[in-house]
Amino acid sequence: MTSRREFIAGLAAASVAAGAGAAFAQSAKPSHHGVIDTHHHFWAPEYKKLSMEWDDAHHSRHAPTLVSWTPEVTLAEMDKGGVKTAVLSLASIRDGFWGLDPQAATKMVRICQDYAAKLMSDHPGRFGLLAPLNMLDVDLCLKEAEYALDQLHADGIGVQSSYNNRYPGDPYYKPLWEELNRRKAVVYFHGPVPGCCGGLKVGPGVNPAVEEVTFDMTRAAVSLLANGCLARYRDIKWFFSYGGGTVPMLASRINAFFKNAKDIHEIAPNGVFAELARLHYDTVNVTDAPSWAALTKLVKPTQIVYGTDFPYFANDQLDNIDKRGLSAHDKALILSGNAKRLMPRLARI
């Protein structure tokens, strides 16, 4: 029986083979070029310390890939995979914002934003930023968004799909979405260890990263739909991790429940499928044939954006995409073109 500890160790061994080790050898010429990876994690030193302290306090093991992460590890993986630019965002957050109060959280958010901005300027053209917000206090979020977008020229906002069981469609976030709608911002969602489900004992090795993050992503999308946010904030470019979590698989079921809702014309003016088809989805762990089939039946290639989830997963996902029988045109959209359309700065760097 594999404990969670052994399981994570196994995963680390696998990803070393996949990535970091190759930086020291002469890497073979990458088979892709100019790729943009929109799901790529970073840890400001203070933020890494915070998350490791949280782990220690809660008897949770550190992911080895987190402990060993440096910008150089990231750049080596990018060079190996032919990735020109990686758009940085925070990995899964627990316990709201690591149990911090809003004031402490906003300080940490500032540290992360500044650290990412420094990486962007130290390595021109290699990094973008989907800037974190604390998401506990909406007034502070507005200030954080202003700083990130106006001062740091972040490429968008990157938040988790829920914080302490509060989902993005919650009316509490209305002022934030109004402001980001006004700015026509990219709003990217990542999966946290959600409050509901982090403690479920599903089976040996089934930690929340396996399935729960994809479920929570789906809840975020449905929350925005059911609360009318997708209809109301038409200019936000909503962008979901893990191919939408499970949205492409559940679109039919969501539609079956909502198509006769009283307010359907308000929340989904052109129907549920049309709303879901407008969203953007990354490719993390959905590059195998079954999930890819669902994603590409639900949305056009213009809505699909390449991502790795590095350092947890690596660019071998590019090879999977190569096997999906895409036209050169569609592949170019997915590997970089759509990211440049969503985040035009990336086309200029």
Partner: protein, 359 residues
């Protein structure tokens, strides 16, 4: 539009009312059974996901909902076998295999002794419906799943007295998933009997109350997540390996399994005990599951499903009375060959449950 309209919109109650109105089409069969129904487009279909309410079961459900201020699903209290038969006749369904709908709080918070009484009442009622309407019904018999020894007695009764076609369970009971070692004696017995085990989604305690929006409630996405969890549970506990004779049917097309199977593989393909839990690989192991077609009949989810599983593992189901046989029309639009369609609509069910071929 006021903020209230946007954010306060439909309450769950209003939402259910809307759903019932949608079912207005739904309610029609009651009257249609009096009129001459139009000739059904399909024939000999077997519906493996069809709910029934024995009076004792209805009472347990209604009592729990009343105590927790949860509205009753429209039509549930009025259900009779005739309501089911009218829907079946209208659509060309020959046989529906009956099972319990979503259960809350384990078995409605009942203790094992009280739960086993409800279970027995369901067995007996299922047996009566089957014998009153020969050939029209099958039964996936419930177990209490709180107490293992009494669940084992229920297995024996269901098979040997009631001649059930299989066992119908929820994907978790009070947060305990089906791979949990406490259930091993049940799986050993069901493996010995080469049982069909149908797995349905409960209103689970973790998630059915999550407030992700007006009109959202556990049945929409949470039940599909819970059945997916139990698939992972049966994989990582080694249950799929240890009990190879059990024929699992997972509701809702496996929940989200066809979509997240690749992700599960990426996490577990390097697990230390892989040889033990999945000697031929994670994907091969997960492909042992059979699934029904409830709410996965559209292009996107059916594409994932049929890339993930051979069509011999896919069985038609409606989730009546929550959903209906218009799902047959959806499947007609998927461009399936007549052979594949026949397999999904009835042949796979007959292969797994030979009595249905004779009934």
């Amino acid at each position: 539009m006021t903020d209230r309209d946007v954010f306060g919109g439909a309450s769950r109650r209003e939402f259910l009312a809307g759903l019932a109105a949608a079912g207005g089409a739904a309610m029609l069969p009651l009257h249609a059974s009096l009129a001459q129904p139009a000739q059904a487009k399909h024939h000999g279909v077997i519906d493996v996901h069809h709910h029934f309410w024995a009076p004792e079961y209805l009472k347990a459900q209604v009592d729990w909902e009343n105590a927790h201020h949860v509205p009753h699903f429209p039509g549930m209290e009025q259900w009779t076998p005739e309501v089911s038969l009218a829907e079946m006749d209208k659509a060309g369904v020959k046989t529906s295999v009956l099972s319990l709908a979503s259960i809350s709080q384990g078995m409605w918070g009942l203790d094992a002794a009280a739960a086993t009484k409800v279970v027995h009442a369901c067995h007996d009622y299922g047996a009566k419906v089957m014998s009153d309407h020969p050939g029209r019904f099958g039964l996936f018999a419930p177990l209490n799943m709180i107490d293992v020894p009494s669940s084992l007695k229920e297995v024996e009764y269901a098979y040997d007295q009631v001649h059930a076609d299989g066992i119908g369970l929820q994907s978790s009971y009070n947060g305990v998933y089906l791979g949990d070692p406490m259930y091993n004696p049940i799986w050993e017995e069901l493996n010995r009997r080469k049982a069909v085990v149908f797995v349905h989604g409960p209103n689970n305690a973790c998630c059915s109350q999550i407030k992700d929006g007006p009109g959202m409630f556990g049945s929409i996405v949470e039940v599909t997540f819970d059945v997916t969890r139990t698939c992972a549970s049966l994989l990582t506990s080694g249950g799929l390996q240890r009990y190879p004779n059990i024929k699992w049917i997972i509701a809702y097309g496996g929940g989200t399994l066809p979509f997240v199977a690749g992700r599960i593989n990426n996490f577990f393909k390097n697990a230390k005990n892989l040889k033990e839990i999945a000697p031929n690989g994670v994907t091969a192991e997960l492909q042992k599951f059979n699934v029904d077609t409830v709410n996965v009949t559209n292009a996107a989810s059916m594409a994932a499903l049929l890339k993930f599983l051979p069509s011999s593992h896919v069985l038609y189901g409606t989730d009546f009375l929550y959903f209906r046989n218009d799902q047959l029309d959806d499947l007609d639009r998927r461009g399936l060959s007549p052979k594949v369609k026949a397999a999904i609509f009835s042949e796979n069910a007959k292969r797994m449950i030979p009595r249905l071929a004779k009934a």
